[in-house]
Each structure stands twice: as structure tokens, then as C-alpha cells.
Amino acid sequence: MEMMEKAEYITPEVEDMVVLRNIVKRFGKVVASDHVNIEIKRNEFFSLLGPSGSGKTTLLRIIAGLEKPDEGVVILEGKDVTNLPPYKRNIGMVFQHLALFPHMTVFENIAYGLRLRKFPEDEIKRRVYDALELVKMPPETFAERKPSQLSGGQQQRVAIARALVTQPAVLLLDEPLGALDLKIRQHMMLELKRIQRTVGTTFVYVTHDQGEALVMSDRIAVIHEGRVEQVGSPYEVYEKPRTKFVANFIGEANFFEGTLRDGTVETSFGAVKVATDIPSGRRVVVSLRPERIRVGKAAEGAENVFEGKIREIVYKGDILIVMVALDDIEIKVNVPATHPEARKLREGDIIRVGWDSGDEAGVFELEAE
Amino acid sequence: MSWMESLIDFVRKYKLLVALLVLGPPLIYLTVYFFAPFLITILYSFGFIGRRGVVTWEFTIKYYQQALRWVYLKVFYNSVVLAAITTVGSILMAYPVAYFIAVKAPKKWKNLLVVSVMVPYWVDFLLRTYALMNIFTMMKMMFTYEAVVIGMIYDYLPFMVLPLYANLEKLDKSLLEASYTLGASPFKTFLKVTLPLSKPGIASGTILVFVPAIGEFIVPSMLGGVSVTTIGTLTWDLFLKFHNWWRGAALSILYIAVVLITLIIYMRKVGELEI
């Protein structure tokens, strides 16, 4: 992780739309943000990903100005806005429960920000209609409805239109898809991505769903207990997790511990070759994704080959999940349904598993107690 | 817009002052016209204030001794008994109705049924008790204890139906179905599931009926005449007929003490009051 920078900051490059410097926020004893440093670039789709209670919403609210950090600086478009109220920051926000004004029509909801900015009425109408078109809501049908007369997905679209219509520099979204069912959710994910590409606004997207984050984001910040564990592209956080937490939280992984000696980890079931810079003699934990493990004939010739008994097979359509016992631990292996030996696998059989060094998602030093 | 911004700045900077400006007026009003009068009542009850409002600073408990005399204690007792009868009577009348509205009644009827209970709730006891006088006069029942009991239940019934309904409405109907599938008869289900779960509603209703019923004045006075004496009628007489303010004050303070103790016990045992 990057070390904290000194309190003084250098005016960032213009392409940094949002910069959080050393943000600390406490609620009583809870440290909701713990020295957070993040730089979000222009036009980026940036996600804050982490488990419930990790402090994602708090960070978003700090960017919005709805919460004031105890320490640290918030910079929007190169300007220090730490002490500005939300209405003086050039932002839009989509709330978790949308917060559409129930006493206003769809049109009035979207026009709200424009009216406050004193746009002429015909300009307001044009912009509201454009915004509705952008989110694929025909204005003729929907403009005069009340939010209560819309489906969940439609309300979602209105909330996005309302937040975007004032052309904010940054759009902040707090788990906006949380309340939708799976089908609409998957559809809205693609929609959001499309909208973001169309308008080119910087999106900061909060979610606890790794699927959403991986699909939509340009970059992801993984948050854990108020700290940033890793910032990187979806590929980086999935394939090259920096910490054990990230490896565990994103995707699935098998973990095994051992002592590192000359590029080999001595585990309970044997020596495992790994690729790492960690010096010899340290206790480490190796993370290995289930889809990286080969079985049967395919495992032959791999750098690490072991044999184990099949404990359980779960059929998932496109893959078989095979639990294999290696000495005292059990590892999970994803076998594609198209694998030539897939149909012959039986619970109780002995099976060969194998992988090369470098296939592991990561090798992490265990903290010395 | 600038006045707005300076206003917002002001609110931010002088939080405490703003709190005073906002909460001050209502609190000052209540202090002067609600709490101060009770303080005055306490002063009267201990004889600090004498005839013609002269403050004497002579402390005495004789008015309390008078208020605790046997005849008065009997009135207290009568009031509590009447309130208890009223409470039990209204539970018996209200429970099936509340249950019917909450669980059995067809959906489209529900609102109408609730509103029909709510509407009388809004009419002052004086008017509704007067309404009963027509019937009791016809039936030659005026100035009997029965008339008072029926009148009490009549007036307090909505105070029992509404909290019971609010409680039963929240009851998860699938619990009843679960009980049926486990082999319990509807009657057993009522005893083992519905009734225990509706205890908070019964408790709320009991408080809303029992506590004010102890001090009820209008019903015993209008329907009972001189034949029924309660704390309410006694207080009224002491004040507006005999002008014995000191004894009346002591009686009233005792009554408030009973009410507060009942409420505190209730809050401890059951918690929040619904409605």
C-alpha cells in the first residue's frame, strides 16, 4: 500500500477529477475512513468495492459534502472543496433508495436542479427531455408521472437522469442497483456503462457486489475496515490481488499456508513452487483460484502435481465444482463441463491435480504475531 | 440569495442560540401555562398559599390527611373499581372487533371499519355522553350505576379498539397458518399464538382506558348524578361547588401520583406506549 503523503498537497493534474488526501472520519469509536488516499481520473468509471460496513458510503458522502472528514482534504477538479457544502460542489448523486421527491412528477424531479440554477423554462424542458431520452424513458409517456407510478428500474433511470441533467463533474452512485432483482440488475449494469460512455462524466460507484464492480469499472478501490486495500483495474484486483483480503473478497480462492524456501512453499501436503519476491524463511499464504487448477491428464507435466480424493462434486451446468482432499486441507477445483474427463469423475475417486508456479493469484506474507 | 446564505451561516455558527430560538418559545409557553400551574397546585396542597392567594410559607400536611380520610379513600377505591370494570368491559367488546378488522375483514372494508371507530374517538365525551342520555331516559335508566358503567365503556371503547387493531394488524398471518399446519385448532392457535402476541396491544389499550377512567368526571356526573361519586366528581365539587381549593389540590396531586406510578410501572414492564 502507498504510504501516506504529507499534509500539504500539490495541485493535482487536471485529469484528476476527485482526489482524496489522507481522509479520516470517525463515528465515535468506529473509524469509518482510515487515512484514505484515492485519485479518480476524468471520464473514469471508478468503483469503491468492499463488504458491508467497510466505509464505502462514508467516502462517497465525504466526496458529496454530506459528511465532513475529521482530517484530510477533498479536491474536486483541482479545487479544495473540503469545507464547501454539497450545493456548492459540482456533483450529482444517486442515492441507494433513490430519494426521488414523492411530491413531484418525473419532470419536476429532473427539472429541480435546473430550476435552482435559474435556467429559462424552454431550456429546462429541452434538457429534461434529453435526459429522459438518455436513460431511455420516452418523455411523452413518463414526464408527468409521479415516482410512485414507476417500476423500480424506471425509478432508477429517473434518479440517474436527475443527477446527470445539471452536467456535474462527477456522478456519485451508492449501490443504486441494490434494490433491483437480478435480471433488471444485469441489464441496468450495461445501461449504466452505456450512459457513462455517452456522457463521459466521471462515475464513482459504490457497491459490495464484486460482479458489478468487475463488469463496469475502469478501476476499482477495494475498501476494508475503512482502509484502501488496493486500487487497480478489474484485471489487476482479480489476477494480482495485493493482499489476502482482496484475494479472498474478489472471486474465489483456495488458501494454503507454509514456510517459503527458495521459491517453494512447504505446505502440509507437500512442496508448492510459487513465483514471488518474498525472501526465504517467511511464513506465507498462497492463494490459488479454482479455475487455475488442472485435473487428470491436463495436470500432467505441471510444476506442482498432487493426488487427492474427490470429496464432493457439484454440477453447475457450465462447470463442475470438485472438492479435492489434499492431506488435511480441501481445495476447490473448477472443471469445465467440456473437459474430456469431466463425465468420468466420481466422488471417492483419486484424482490428479496440478498447476504451475505463477498460476497462483498471490503469495502473501503472514504478519508476524 | 445573500440573506439566505447569511442565515445559513448564522445557523451553523450559533447552534445553541438557534436551538434556543426554536425550542425556546414552545418550552417557555409550556413552562408558564402548564408546569407553573402544577407547581402552584403543589404549593396550595401544602398550604403555602392561603386565602386570597397570600403566600404564608407555613407548611402543613393537613390537606393530605384530609384527602386520605376514609370517605375519600372509599371514593378512590370506587373510582379504581369503576375504571377496572370499564377496562375489562372494553377489552371484551373491543378485542373481537379489532381482530375482525385486522385479520378477517375483506380488504376493501378495512379502512371504512377503522375510520368508523376513529370518528367517535374525536367527539368530546360530553357530546357522546349526552347522546346516551336520550336512550337512558327512554329506558328509565338514568342515574343508575349500570348507566354509568355502560356510558364509561361507550366513551372509552375507541381507545381500546385502536391500539388493539394497530397491534393485530402487524401480526404476521403466516404465523397462524404455521400453527394450523402444526396441528393446532383455530381456538388453540388463538390461545397460543394470537393472544400472547397481542399482549402489547392489550397493555396499550389498558393504559389508555384505565388511567383516564380513574379520574373520569363527565360520565359519572351526567349519567350517575349524585348516586355515583368518583375522584373526578369529587374534585369538581371541591373546586367549583365548595371552593375548597386546598383539599382539592391535595386530592389532585395524589391522583396525579397514582397516574404517574401506574405509567412508570407500565413503561418498565412493557416499554413504549403505542398510538
Binding site: 429541480y112 | 418559545p25 392567594g53 367517535p120 367527539v123 357530546l127 347522546a131 397516574v259
Partner: protein, 260 residues
């Protein structure tokens, strides 16, 4: 869905209870239109008792007094109670629990105890009993009801609506005017209705705190019905007051049901 016998019995019982609630009221209304004075015998339809009411100066004065007190009480208690509610929900200060309990006390204390303490207070401080003393007492009582109703409404609404307004460029005052106030309007109206009826047909507090020459409608009913005096004029008057209260109650019910 067909009902079982048990359910039908319960429905029948409920119908009986509703009849119990409404028959006396209906009888008052019916006999207010009775031609003769005989109770229990409807001899013919007539509006003459309403005619009598209309021509009765005392009733008109009392009606004016009731209305006057109720309207002023509503306005003042609405202002003070709403102020208290906003303050308690929105201000970020300590000691709120204690203040909240204080604001609830007038609802808990039995009316007769409150009424006599007001009387003692007025006597002690030398107020002249009449319009003002009645009014001041009604307001004290109503503030708490307004407070409870408005507070519940405010506490029940989603804070993020106000936050959304802030992020859309409205400052706190604009947010209050465009979002908070319109959304709490149903609560404020409901509170106003409650405050009005509580004051309009209040009897006990008024009886204790009024002075010679200041009569309200409930006081007229009281003095004329004392010792069993039931009559068609009183039935007509009661019908009028009940009609007012019940209409307001109905509006209130409509308002609060719709929001669910």
C-alpha cells in the same frame, strides 16, 4: 373466500359493537328532527329545533366563542408545536430526551387535574377569568398534540430526500421550502385538525377556566343537560357540534390513510 361459521359470528359481534357505538348518535340526530318534545316517539319530521337554535342569540354567541378560541388555539399551537418538532428532530444538540419527555407530559396528565391547576394558577396570579384564560389553557394542551403528530411525520421521512436536494444545488433554506415543508404538510394539516377539534368541543378545561359571561357550545350543553334535561333543542345543538367534529375526523382519517 367464504367465511366459516366462527368468522360469521365474529362479524355479527362486530356489527353489534358498531351499532353500540353509533345508535346513540343516530338517535340524537333523529330526535333533533322530531316535531314534538316527546322522547322515544317520532311524531313527524321538522326543522323547527334548528330554527330555534338559529334564533337563539346565546347559542350564536357561544358558537362564535367556541370558533374564536378553536381557531386561535389551532394557529398558535400549530406554530409553537411545529417549531418544537422541527427543533427536536433537526437540531443537533444534547439533552433532547429530557425535552421530549417534558413535551409529552400534557398528554399524559388527566385533563381534570390540568384544568384545576390552571384555575389555581389564574386565581393566584390574578388573571380575570374569561376568553383569555380559556384560550391560554387550550393552547398549552394542544402544543403537545401538534408536537407529537408533526414530529412523527418528520422523523418518518427519508433523510436522503433532503440530502438529494442539497446535492442538486439547493441550499438548506431552499431545501426546507421545497422538500421538507411540502413533505411534512400532511402531518401539519393533521395536527391542525386535531388541535381544532380538541379545542372546539373541549368541556372540562373550559368549564374550570372560564369566567362569567364567556360561554362556549359545550358549556351550554352541559348546563342545559344537567340533572337529566334532554330535549330536542339540545339534540339539534349536539348534532351540529358532532357533525363538525366528525367531518374533521373524517378528513383526518382520509389524510392519514392515504399515506399508507
Amino acid at each position: 373466500m367464504s367465511m366459516s361459521l366462527r368468522d360469521k359470528l365474529m362479524g355479527l359481534y362486530s356489527a353489534f359493537v358498531y351499532a353500540f357505538l353509533y345508535v346513540p348518535i343516530i338517535i340524537v340526530i333523529i330526535f333533533s328532527f322530531n316535531e314534538s318534545r316527546t322522547l322515544g316517539q317520532f311524531t313527524g319530521f321538522s326543522l323547527k329545533w334548528y330554527q330555534v337554535l338559529l334564533e337563539d342569540k346565546v347559542v350564536w354567541v357561544a358558537f362564535y366563542n367556541s370558533l374564536n378560541v378553536a381557531v386561535i388555539t389551532t394557529l398558535v399551537s400549530l406554530f409553537l408545536g411545529t417549531l418544537a418538532a422541527y427543533g427536536m428532530v433537526r437540531l443537533d444538540i444534547g439533552g433532547k430526551g429530557a425535552v421530549d419527555s417534558l413535551l409529552y407530559v400534557p398528554i399524559i396528565i388527566p385533563e381534570i387535574a390540568e384544568a384545576l391547576s390552571l384555575l389555581l394558577f389564574y386565581k393566584f396570579t390574578g388573571y380575570e377569568l374569561g376568553w383569555l384564560t380559556v384560550l391560554l389553557g387550550h393552547i398549552a394542551f394542544d402544543i403537545s398534540f401538534v408536537y407529537v403528530v408533526v414530529r412523527a411525520r418528520l422523523a418518518g421521512f427519508d433523510r436522503s430526500l433532503e440530502e438529494a436536494s442539497l446535492t442538486l444545488g439547493a441550499n438548506e433554506v431552499q431545501t426546507f421550502l421545497k422538500v421538507t415543508l411540502p413533505l411534512s404538510m400532511p402531518g401539519i394539516i393533521a395536527a391542525a385538525l386535531i388541535a381544532f377539534t380538541l379545542s372546539f368541543d373541549d368541556f372540562i378545561k373550559t368549564a374550570f377556566t372560564t369566567g362569567p359571561g364567556f360561554q362556549t357550545l359545550p358549556l351550554i350543553i352541559w348546563s342545559q343537560s344537567a340533572r337529566g334535561g334532554v330535549g330536542p333543542e339540545l339534540n339539534a345543538l349536539t348534532t351540529v357540534i358532532m357533525a363538525i367534529s366528525m367531518t374533521i375526523a373524517y378528513i383526518y382519517a382520509k389524510l392519514t390513510m392515504e399515506k399508507q
